[in-house]
């Protein structure tokens, strides 16, 4: 049977020559991930199974990134539970404050995921690693607990939608605009239970950071995973970050897709998701006058070095509107360091932004930038659900780093084209 990229990876990890959509399989795992919110629950479940050790100390990653640096006593307790488990079980990939980062930026950077891997994480944005040509998907804590014991996980083999990307995006359009455009087109359940496979000549025009952003938000269309074909840029990235061997899985030429959608990147405009759903999109030309109180630039979606460079390009020599609180958080310590060396942090601080340590904090309404009643934020994060960043009546507008930075200066949702 002709198979998609995802189906081929799953087949090999299940020890099968072929798999078909809808089939239940059990696949071998190359990495199992958890964070300070989901891992404590997984550890409790793991302990119920009654095995002494985890299946492989090198194939588990534990990252305290959500409510860290510990925001209160309860969060500190959760981190402590995870930390003690990590030391006790000698988990190799436990990253304490100082070497940590937001998990989905950190794992690829540390070379822990390579093309062809099967990865599960107790975090919905685990789908990010599809940018590297890996199969990766989010699961819950119980799945993670079972996987830490077994080194395997059950999956229903997904069918796939092909997104053929053609053309080149215009100057201020990045991965975020592309994925918001796609989600706006197909809806938050448009790819429910399916793979989103990104193909076409246009992929070559996207940086790895653009691809991470796109794969990251596949879950916002309901997808099981998002995955890119491996090309020279992927190989260059992997060579720079990892020493592990890997295998490239190419789809069969006659692989079956439930649908094929062609996206001409050159026609995509800077795009904003209005409250309270990522599929409630408008182009920057349609937004009207939306005054804002806060701007957040960062997260597992858009806290990478390219994102910070774009924000700095917009903010250089400008002053942020006095009514807008602007918080910029590099996604990892390495990105933070790079941003410092490149002078980006100076640009941000001189413009009137604060720069935070890596954390998921504000994105999910945890800490470091919570919204009060009726307040509005433009955020480069991934969700704008009711109450996501704070008060139930607050609003989140999802956008790219370029749009977020321009909005910080203008005090309302703004087009970077009008500012530069």
């Amino acid at each position: 049977m002709a198979m998609t990229m995802t189906q081929k990876i799953l087949a090999e990890h299940a020890g099968l020559t072929e798999v078909y959509p809808g089939q239940f399989i059990e696949a071998r795992l190359d990495m199992v991930l958890g964070n300070d919110i989901t891992a404590p629950v997984a550890i409790k479940e793991f302990e119920k199974i009654g095995v002494k050790d985890v299946f492989d100390k090198t194939k588990i990653a534990l990252v305290p990134d959500h409510f860290t640096p510990n925001k209160d006593i309860k969060s500190a307790q959760q981190c402590k539970a995870m930390r003690e488990f990590a030391w006790e079980k000698e988990i190799e990939n436990y990253f304490e404050i100082g070497e940590m980062g937001i998990e989905h930026a950190l794992l690829p950077e540390k070379g822990l995921v390579v093309p062809g891997d099967v990865v599960i994480g107790a975090d919905s944005h685990t789908c990010t690693y599809g940018a590297l040509g890996a199969f990766s998907t989010g699961v819950g804590s119980t799945d993670m607990g079972a996987a830490m014991a077994l080194g395997k996980c059950w999956f229903k083999v997904p069918e796939a939608i092909e997104f053929e990307l053609i053309g080149k995006p215009t100057k201020w359009v990045s991965g975020k605009d592309i994925i918001l455009h796609i989600i706006g087109k197909i809806g938050v359940d448009g790819a429910r239970y399916k793979s989103m496979e990104f193909t076409g000549d246009g992929v070559a025009n996207l940086s790895m950071d653009d691809r991470f952003t796109i794969a990251n938000m596949a879950i916002e269309a309901g997808a099981k995973n998002g995955i890119f074909e491996v090309d020279d840029k992927t190989l260059e990235y992997v060579k720079e970050h990892s020493k592990r061997d890997f295998k490239i899985y190419k789809r069969d030429p006659d692989a079956e897709y439930s649908e094929k959608i062609t996206i001409d990147l050159s026609t995509i405009r800077p795009t904003v998701s209005f409250p309270h759903s990522p599929d409630n999109t408008r182009t920057i030309d349609e937004v009207g006058d939306i005054e804002i109180d806060q701007v957040v630039i960062g997260s597992c979606t858009n806290g990478r070095i390219d994102d910070l460079r774009i924000a700095a390009k917009v903010l250089k020599g400008k002053k942020i509107n006095r009514r807008v609180r602007t918080i910029i958080f590099p996604a990892t310590q390495n990105i933070y360091l790079k941003a410092m060396e490149e002078g980006l942090l100076k640009i941000f601080i001189e413009a009137g932004a604060v720069v935070s340590t890596p954390t998921c904090g504000p994105c999910l309404g945890g800490h470091m930038g919570i919204l009060a009643e009726g307040e509005r934020a433009v955020a480069t994060t991934n969700r704008n659900f009711v109450g996501r960043m704070g008060h139930q009546s607050s609003e989140v507008y999802l956008a790219s780093p370029a749009v977020a930075a321009a909005s910080a200066v203008m005090g309302k949702i703004a087009n970077p084209e009008d500012l530069i």
Binding site: F24, I37, T38, P40, V41, K44, E45, K48, I49, G50, V51, H66, F67, D72, K74, S75, Q78, G121, A122, D123, S124, T126, G138, V139, G140, S141, T142, D143, G145, A146, A149, L150, W154, K156, V188, D189, R192, Y193, I219, G222, K224, S277, L364, G365, G366, R383, F385, V386, G387, R388, Q392
Partner: protein, 168 residues
């Protein structure tokens, strides 16, 4: 197994952030979580819900974050079943894994209104709407999922299996 209770009805795309907001994720104690279940879209849910009640959503129920705290909060509230036209995939897995019954049924999701009295007979595969005097069929679960259900959740299933592999 039979359950009986009143329906709480919600719309499309009920996300896990409204089922249990992140501001309460410093704990995973079911008794703590249930106090805040659904509060951002249904302030009094925790006060009104009674053991046996059902939650009925429309499309893509449980979308968003992978937090297992969402089905845990619903289960701890005493909800006997979540019925929806479709579920987001992580919520779907999590519910079976922790033993919260969920049923995919377009007909039941369309027909049931808030406050309808609902009786579910899982062994017969039937949802009875007593208020409207209607019956909706429950499709059989895939065999793999049935194994997880009959083992009372994924952890027992895995524990049993590992025990067998070790010859216990």
């Amino acid at each position: 197994m039979k359950t009986k209770g009143k329906a709480f009805k919600y719309g499309d795309n009920i996300d896990t952030d409204v089922i249990i907001p992140a501001r309460y994720l410093m704990s995973f104690d079911p008794q703590e979580l249930k106090k805040h279940c659904m509060e951002d879209i249904d302030k009094d849910f925790a006060k009104k819900v009674k053991p046996g009640d059902v939650i009925v959503g429309r499309k893509n129920f449980g979308c968003g974050s992978s937090r297992e705290h969402a089905p845990i909060a619903i289960k701890a509230s005493g909800v006997s079943c979540v019925i929806a036209e479709s579920f987001a995939r992580i919520f779907y897995r999590n519910s079976f894994n922790i033993g919260l019954p969920i049923v995919e049924s377009k007909e039941a999701s369309e027909r049931i209104d808030a406050g309808d009295e609902i009786e579910i007979d899982f062994s017969e595969g039937e949802i009875k709407n007593i208020t409207k005097d209607e019956v909706y069929r429950i499709e059989a679960y895939p065999e793999f999922i049935q194994n997880i259900i009959s083992n009372n959740g994924l952890i027992n299933y895995v524990a049993e299996r590992i025990g067998k592999e070790n010859g216990l």
